[in-house]
Symmetry: C2
Subunit: 221 residues, 2 copies
């Protein structure tokens, strides 16, 4: 479903060149639930951003649904992202000027969904993460873990085929973290959602199909 | 050293009133290392902000070094904060326009410290958190956990008497998380730094003197 072939990523600042990813080769099967672990700064978010077609590799190619991604800035790539991918960002990226409810409805604006139906689906996703009672709040009025849960609701509301989750439980207590894992596992088992999850939490990783470890931009063991 | 007497905090939005803290009474002794745990949204950050004189309670009083805090906006309170408190925020709050090094030097601008000495102390703090090689980076060029570590370096650089740490290891792998705990424990044991740490990680909490649990704004057991 998702093929990374010889992926490398270099970041350059005025003074330093960082090889964030070094010749990564990975296949992700449809319906798989994969974890990615590794030390802080080792390339996990960079890898997820490339899988999510948000960022372009310096070398190598990304093949999604048998098509090599040619132009990361094209409308076609943007449309593919909107229609097939759900992303939970490490720093949430909620829109501060929009209410919690409007934030969660966002992915559905790209669909042919009535505003009534959009509203219903968004409220349902907020119910799942325990935040229906905060739907009129604005992000600045939420706790850290509540922001994270809104980001999760936004990623699942459109039932995307692929969910890319960058440390989705980092700001949550273990009870809530396990509830989020239950939601993701349910999507994976019942709807066949392919999930790639970056986590620092060994216990969460153990609940998934496969674990990939990164170190200094390379896949290890 | 730090007394919270009958502290309550209410947040009001257009539609909802939240009792974030409900009659909290706590004493924090000089040199203590205290952990605070509890579910997402239960009031931990609010409690830490009130301890740090960043936020004002709706009811009750905060007594620091035997003085009741009267005016949270006064120069005197601001000066006290700068001179005695180090804060690690849950969302880091790094200055995006400043380099990593300049971010870490910030707390020292309030001291009578030469720019040469400021630079030396900042580089040393960055060494401790393993980020000396990123000192010319800007926050947008850092990974999530690297941002967290810069925030930690900034909080410890001035050797403040009290450190308030809001989930300082949430974005870090367990190895790095334990290294950060080692730094905090060393400050506590060798320099007598008083530390109040919010964490979701039971293992980190077990390494501290005392654990306080919050639930729905109240202290439990
Ligand atoms: N500015 C605000 N306006 C309205 N409600 C707020 C505001 N700030 C916080 N709250 C509410 O107060 C409660 C406590 O928030 P707080 O940030 O202290 O929780 P927390 O325990 O730190 O949570 P987390 O573990 O998720 O970081 C939350 O339910 C939150 O929605
Ligand atoms: N825009 C950028 N410019 C320069 N360097 C960057 C940039 N973005 C990331 N890096 C560097 O690339 C490396 C990998 O970053 P990445 O965010 O992928 O790490 P990570 O594994 O997600 O870390 P964490 O667990 O801390 O979130 C880091 O060392 C970081 O400093
Ligand atoms: Mg990351
Ligand atoms: Mg918090």
């Amino acid at each position: 479903m998702l093929n990374l072939e010889n992926i490398s990523k270099v970041y350059r600042t005025d003074t330093i060149e960082t090889l964030a990813l070094n010749t990564i080769n990975m296949k992700i099967e449809k319906g798989e639930f994969l974890s990615i672990m590794g030390p802080s700064g080792c390339g996990k978010s960079t890898l997820l951003n490339i899988m999510g077609l948000i960022d372009e590799p310096s070398e190598g190619r990304v093949v999604v649904a048998n098509q090599t991604v040619a132009d990361y800035n094209s409308k076609a790539t943007a449309r593919f992202r909107n229609e097939h991918l759900g992303f939970i960002f490490q720093s949430f990226h909620l829109i501060n000027d929009l209410s919690v409810l409007d934030n969660v409805e966002l992915p559905l604006l790209y669909r042919k969904v009535s505003s009534k139906e959009r509203r219903r689906l968004a409220e349902e996703a907020l119910e799942q993460v325990g935040l229906h009672n905060r739907m009129r709040h604005f992000p600045s009025q939420l706790s850290g873990g509540q922001k994270q849960r809104v980001a999760i609701a936004r990623a699942i509301v459109g039932r995307p085929e692929i969910i890319l989750a960058d440390e989705p439980t980092g700001n949550l207590d273990s009870v809530m973290g396990n509830e989020i894992m239950d939601i993701l596992l349910r999507l994976n088992e019942q709807e066949g959602t392919t999930i790639v999850m970056v986590t620092h939490d060994e216990r969460m990783a153990q609940r998934t199909h496969r674990l990939v470890r990164l170190f200094d931009g390379s896949q290890v063991q």
